[in-house]
């Protein structure tokens, strides 16, 4: 009797979870499946996930892009910005985190630490307009430098996460290395960095995903179709002036989430750990 009941509750449980899961994934599935439908039938058959005729032409059509610039360029630009920004952000944050985690008495430490917390909470949206005015004076508007350069000076969230991780690395390791004649820089490079690889990967994943998806900053600073990122280019499909090729739109939208999806599938462990331990938003 009891056994019977638990089996029923098991079935109910899994059915409920699966049903909700289908609802959760439906919009994503719909996007992917629509990209394989004939463009003119996307909305005539919007109630069905399965294409009547399975076509790949949307990918070819969408890839041609806008005004002679193909999506190869847009993807290249996005990768360039996201990868360079990620390298700069993670390495500089690690350096700064090492300074905070291993040295507890240097001039202005507590002030700088508070500044780090402030920069962590300070939203880009607050500073975007004055920053634009400032970058315009510096001549950074219209170049990728405005998007990439600031990353090389450490990012609050990653500094914070890495400080926490580095504090967990035993101080004795540093001291042993110091006795063997290692300087601070070598301790950082040879001892701390290798031990922090999991935390560095977590930071790199978040950094890449945020920069890949970012829309607002490129909208302000990127000028000229040739320099567009994928997210800016996707928005062009929505503009009233463009022809509404919905098949191509969904084909390119699908491709644009592929890097995120791959990271999610391959590195899920780091993602989940990063969110559960720090509350970083995904």
């Amino acid at each position: 009797m009891l056994n019977h009941e638990t089996r029923w509750s098991k079935i109910v449980y899994h059915t409920l979870i699966c049903l909700m899961g289908v609802v959760m994934l439906y919009p994503l599935l719909w996007m992917v499946m629509s990209s394989f439908k004939e463009s003119k039938t996307v909305f005539l058959t919007a109630n069905s996930l399965i294409p009547q005729k399975f076509v790949l032409e949307n990918y070819a059509n969408g890839w041609t892009g806008f005004g002679g610039t193909t999506f190869a360029t847009f993807f290249g630009n996005s990768f360039y910005i996201a990868i360079l920004g990620t390298i700069g952000g993670v390495l500089s944050s690690a350096l700064v985190a090492f300074g905070f985690a291993r040295f507890h008495r240097f001039p202005m430490r507590s002030v700088l630490f508070s500044c780090m917390l402030i920069s962590m909470m300070m939203p880009f949206q607050v500073v975007m307009v004055p920053q634009f005015i400032w970058y315009k004076k510096l001549g950074l508007v219209g170049s990728y430098a405005a998007l990439i350069l600031p990353r090389f000076f450490g990012e609050g969230f990653f500094i914070f996460l890495l400080i926490q991780f580095m504090s967990g690395v035993p101080q004795e390791l540093d001291e042993a290395a110091r006795i063997d004649g290692c300087g601070n820089l070598r301790i950082f490079l040879k001892i701390i960095m290798p031990l922090c690889v999991p935390a560095l990967i977590t930071c790199a994943i978040f950094s890449f995903m945020w920069k890949w998806e970012d829309y607002l900053a490129p909208l302000l600073y990127v000028k000229g179709t040739r320099n567009y990122t994928v997210s800016i280019a996707l928005k062009l499909f929505c503009d009233p002036a463009s022809t509404s090729d919905y098949g191509a739109t969904f084909a390119m939208a699908t491709l644009s989430v592929v890097p995120t999806l791959l990271i999610f599938i391959c590195l899920q462990k780091y993602l989940v750990e990063g969110i559960s331990t720090t509350g970083l938003k995904g």
Partner: protein, 298 residues
């Protein structure tokens, strides 16, 4: 002399920390302090980027609060959005996290499925999908057609349903909140539940007397972070509703963006940014002050 004193400074071991944190110090000054100083200064001027700025005193702030209906509309829309979507999202996240707690061979798969939307939800791709989903010839109406309800209702064309579509998109991304809750739930000591069982506590009592109080620090943290991030939403609104209809879904940041980069009212936009800073800071402050009242701390 100079060289020796410099050398002595860095020989004091601790001072090397200053050197390591130097990138941040410079970056914070150049990319945060200067822009905020700029915001304060330009908010007192009229500035259109091309011609020199003109000092106008507090005019921008006075206009903001007394003469600008659109500003109030955007503040209202953003507030409604944040106050409805964040609690709903957190409740849903907690509900699903509780379901996920049950051990099962499939739990990691389930977790992945529920989490997936939240890593892509902020992207332009999803915003475009959402826009087509709620269009009058879109997916939602087509699905209603399957149920025998023939509808060509323009969900995004009416104030309430347009807002609803944005709230739904936000709720859909409950994944990261769910993961945080899941981690917190696993840390609640099992002894508490065992003690409750001995006392004959009902399921509801276990939830309201143990689970919920033990989760309050997590709920608190999530509440602050997500209300702030809901308040700062841009992409969703900009692409899905564009603030339409009648500015009923015009988010604060989209309004700010329009003022600065569509109308080139840079000074006015700076005043809006300063107000936003005060607002975000204020929300955080209030949350921390009231924290003691309802957060259970060990």
């Amino acid at each position: 002399m100079m060289v020796t004193s410099k050398r002595r400074f860095f020989q004091r071991d601790q001072n090397v920390g200053f050197l390591f944190t130097l990138p941040f110090t410079i970056g914070f000054f150049v990319f945060t302090v200067v822009p905020i100083a700029y915001a304060l200064y330009y908010s007192l001027t009229n500035y259109d980027v091309l011609t020199p700025s003109v000092f106008v005193g507090l005019n921008n702030y006075i206009n903001l609060f007394t003469g600008d209906a659109v500003f109030w509309q955007s503040l209202r829309a953003t507030t409604i959005f944040s106050l409805v979507s964040v609690p709903l999202r957190l409740m849903f996240a907690l509900f699903v996290a509780l379901l996920m707690l049950r051990p099962s061979r499939l739990s990691s798969l389930y977790r992945a499925v529920y989490y997936m939307p939240s890593i892509m939800g902020g992207s332009v791709a999803i915003a475009i999908v959402w826009r087509r989903f709620f269009a009058s010839n879109g997916t939602l109406n087509a699905l209603l057609g399957l149920l025998g309800i023939s509808s060509s209702y323009a969900w995004l064309g009416h104030p309430n349903t347009a807002m609803l579509s944005l709230i739904l998109l936000d709720m859909w991304q409950f994944g990261s909140a769910m993961l945080i809750f899941l981690a917190a739930l696993k840390q609640i000591p099992q002894e508490l539940y065992e003690a409750a069982d001995v006392d004959g506590a009902k399921r509801s009592a276990r939830f309201f007397r143990i689970t919920l109080p033990m989760l309050t620090p997590t709920i608190f943290f999530n509440l602050i972070m997500q209300i702030i991030s809901a308040f700062l939403q841009f992409t969703k609104c900009y692409i899905i509703t564009e603030g339409k209809p009648l500015n009923s879904t015009l988010f604060y940041v989209v309004n700010l963006y329009y003022q600065a980069f569509k109308y080139y009212h840079m000074g006015y936009a700076c005043a809006m940014a300063v107000f936003m800073l005060v607002l975000v800071g204020g929300i955080t402050y209030i949350m921390f002050v009231t924290k003691k009242r309802w957060v259970y701390e060990v």
